[in-house]
C-alpha cells in the first residue's frame, strides 16, 4: 500500500494547509476543507488526468481545492494564507478564471449543469477526457441539480462523475432538519446514475470507488461521499457550528498540533 501511504501524506498536508489558510484571517471553511482532504488527495494525486476536468460547484469549498493545488505546486503557501483577505485572489468562493477553477461555482446548484456541458463537449471532441463535479448534499435542494442529473443520464454521460460532499450540514443547520435529501444514492439511481455511497475519509474506499466509476458504461456515476466536517482535528469534529469556523489564533495553532497527533495515531 505504498500508493495509499503517499496519498495519506498528501491528505495530511492538505489538512495542514487548510488550517494555515484559515489561521491567516482567523476564519474560513475549515470544516469542509478538512472533511474533503482525503477526497482531494485521491482526486489530485491519483485520479485526475491532464485532460480531465474538475468542476467545483460548491464554491465555498474552494479551500480544499486551493490546498490540493498548493500540494501540487500551483500556489505558494505565502499566498494561500491571504485566503479571504481584501485584494487576495485566494477567495473563499472564487470565480472562473482563478487558476485551477474552471467555472464560477458558489451560486449553489449550478455546477453540475456546467459539468454536463463539459462532458458533452469532451465526448463530442472524442478525446476520452473525464469530468468530475463536486456538489454538496445541501446543494441537492436546488432544483437545477436534478435538471442536470436528468440531462446527464439522458445523454448517457459515462465520462461524468458526480461527487456529493455528504457532510450533513448546511448554513442553517443539519441537512436532515432543514430539508432532508437522503436517501441520496437511491435518488440518484432513480435519476439514472450508477451511484454508490462511500466513506470519503477512508482513502482505500475513495480509490476503490474511482476505479469502480471508471468501469461503468452508458450512464453517469455518482459517489455519495460521506465525510466528517473537521476530520483530523478532533476539537473541530466536535464543534456544533463547523459550517464556518471563526477562532482565535491559539485555536488554529492547537488544531495543527491535533492534526499531527491524529496522523501519528493512525
Amino acid at each position: 500500500m505504498n500508493g495509499n501511504a503517499e496519498l495519506r501524506r498528501r491528505a495530511h498536508a492538505i489538512r495542514r494547509t487548510v488550517i494555515e489558510m484559515c489561521r491567516g484571517r482567523g476564519q474560513g471553511y475549515a470544516g469542509q476543507g478538512l472533511g474533503l482532504a482525503d477526497l482531494m488527495a485521491v482526486l489530485y494525486f491519483s485520479e485526475l488526468g491532464e485532460d480531465d476536468h474538475f468542476v467545483l460547484s460548491t464554491g465555498h469549498s474552494s479551500i480544499a481545492v486551493f490546498a490540493a493545488l498548493h500540494e501540487r505546486g500551483d500556489y505558494e503557501l505565502e499566498e494561500l494564507v491571504t485566503y479571504g483577505m481584501d485584494g487576495s485572489r485566494i477567495e473563499e468562493s472564487p470565480l472562473e478564471g482563478t487558476p485551477g477553477f474552471e467555472i464560477t461555482g458558489g451560486s449553489l446548484g449550478q455546477g453540475l449543469s456546467q459539468a454536463v456541458g463539459l462532458a458533452l463537449g469532451e465526448r463530442l471532441r472524442g478525446g476520452g477526457s473525464r469530468v468530475y463535479c463536486l456538489v454538496s448534499d445541501g446543494e441537492l435542494q436546488e432544483g437545477q441539480v436534478w435538471e442536470a442529473c436528468m440531462a446527464a443520464a439522458h445523454h448517457r454521460l459515462d465520462n461524468l462523475v458526480l461527487l456529493v460532499d455528504n457532510n450533513r450540514m448546511q448554513a442553517d443547520g443539519a441537512v436532515a432538519e432543514i430539508l432532508e435529501v437522503e436517501p441520496v444514492p437511491e435518488r440518484l439511481t432513480a435519476f439514472g446514475f450508477a451511484a454508490r455511497r462511500i466513506d470519503a475519509n477512508t482513502l482505500a474506499d475513495v480509490v476503490d470507488a474511482f476505479a469502480w466509476a471508471r468501469g461503468q458504461r452508458g450512464r453517469p456515476t455518482a459517489l455519495v461521499c460521506d465525510n466528517i466536517p473537521g476530520k483530523g482535528v478532533p476539537s473541530f469534529e466536535e464543534r456544533q457550528r463547523v459550517h464556518y469556523v471563526r477562532a482565535p489564533d491559539q485555536d488554529w495553532a492547537a488544531a495543527l498540533v491535533e492534526l499531527d497527533e491524529t496522523e501519528v495515531a493512525w
Binding site: E96, L120, E147, A151
Partner: protein
C-alpha cells in the same frame, strides 16, 4: 418621406444565418430547451445533429450546459424565448456565461409584445436585465438583415452576447450588401428626434410618415455597449426627443437615452414610448400596439 420600405419578407433569417455559421465554424454548438421548432433552430439541428443539444424544458440547466460547452472550447448558442432566457435563467446566464473568460451567445425569441400570451411570454424586461450584466452585449434587431448581422457581430465579440430573435417571415428593411450593425439615421427632417430600436424602428417610421413635417429617426440596434456619442450628437439637434422600443420603458432604450442626456448635461426633453409600467394585454400585435399607444397613430400623437 421615409427612406425605408419593406423590401421583401425573408423566411426564417435566423435559421439561415445559424446554418451558415455552422458551416463556417466547427466550434459552434446550439442548444434548445424544447423550443427548436419555434425558434428556427431545426435546420441547424438537421444539418449538424452532433452539434445540436436538446436539453428539454429546463432553461436554467441549458444555460449551465452552454457554459460547460464553452469551457470545453466550443462557442455555444443557447436559443429560447426571451422570458425564459432572462427571468427564468438570469442567475445561470450571469454565472455560467458572463463571468468569463469563457462566453456564449443567447438568442431569445418573442421580444416584447410579439406574442399574444401576456406576462408569461412577453419579454418586456429582458433588455433591462441583460443590460445590467457586466460585459454583456445586447442587440435588438429591426429586420431580417439585422438578425443575420447580429449573429455575425456576436461571433466577433469577445464577451457574452444577448440577441433578441425574430422568427418566421421577417421583413427586410436594410440592404444586406455591405451592411454593418451600427446606429444609422434612417431619415432626417422635422423638429422632433426619434431614437428607436428593434421592431419599434419600423413603428417609428410609420408614425414619422404620418405627421406633418416628418421627424428624424435614429435607429440603434446595439443597446449595449450603448453608442452614447452618436445618440448624444443626434439628440443635440432637437429640443424634443422620443424613444420608441418594443420593451418596458424602464431599463431599456429609453433609459439608456435618458442616462446619455442626463450625463451629458443636455437640455433635451425626452418622452419614452414602450410598454408602460404595467403588464401588456393579450392579443394580436396590432391590438396590443393600439392599446399601449404604440401604433402609428399613438406614436404620431407623441411626436406632434
Amino acid at each position: 418621406m421615409s427612406a425605408l420600405a419593406v423590401q421583401e419578407l425573408v423566411e426564417a433569417p435566423f435559421a439561415r444565418a445559424l446554418t451558415a455559421l455552422g458551416r463556417a465554424r466547427e466550434d459552434v454548438v446550439v442548444l434548445s430547451a424544447d423550443l427548436s421548432k419555434y425558434t428556427d433552430v431545426l435546420p441547424f439541428a438537421d444539418e449538424f445533429p452532433d452539434r445540436f443539444f436538446q436539453v428539454g424544458m429546463a432553461e436554467a440547466n441549458m444555460m449551465g450546459i452552454a457554459g460547460g460547452l464553452a469551457k470545453a472550447g466550443y462557442l455555444p448558442i443557447a436559443v429560447t424565448y426571451g422570458v425564459f432566457a432572462t427571468r427564468r435563467a438570469y442567475d445561470q446566464v450571469a454565472m455560467a456565461l458572463a463571468t468569463g473568460p469563457s462566453r456564449a451567445i443567447v438568442v431569445a425569441f418573442l421580444p416584447g409584445i410579439t406574442t399574444p400570451f401576456r406576462a408569461t411570454h412577453q419579454a418586456i424586461d429582458d433588455v433591462a436585465l441583460m443590460r445590467a450584466l457586466p460585459g454583456m452585449t445586447v442587440i435588438d434587431p429591426a429586420d431580417a438583415t439585422e438578425v443575420d448581422a447580429a449573429l455575425g457581430f456576436a461571433v466577433s465579440e469577445p464577451g457574452p452576447v444577448y440577441i433578441r430573435g425574430l422568427r418566421g417571415r421577417v421583413a427586410r428593411l436594410f440592404d444586406p450588401v455591405g451592411f454593418r450593425l451600427e446606429p444609422r439615421e434612417l431619415q432626417s427632417g422635422g423638429t422632433v428626434g426619434v431614437v428607436a430600436t428593434g421592431l419599434a424602428t419600423g413603428w417609428a417610421l410609420e408614425a414619422a410618415a404620418a405627421i406633418d413635417g416628418g421627424a428624424s429617426v435614429l435607429h440603434v440596434p446595439v443597446l449595449k455597449p450603448f453608442p452614447a456619442a452618436q445618440v448624444a450628437a443626434f439628440c443635440s439637434r432637437f429640443d424634443r426627443v422620443v424613444s420608441v422600443e418594443n420593451h418596458s420603458i424602464s431599463g431599456g432604450l429609453g433609459s439608456a437615452v435618458a442616462e446619455t442626456l442626463a450625463e451629458g448635461g443636455m437640455a433635451v426633453r425626452l418622452r419614452r414610448l414602450g410598454v408602460p409600467d404595467q403588464w401588456a394585454p393579450a392579443g394580436s400585435l396590432d391590438y396590443i400596439r393600439h392599446e399601449l399607444g404604440l401604433d402609428a397613430d399613438g406614436i404620431a400623437e407623441a411626436l406632434r
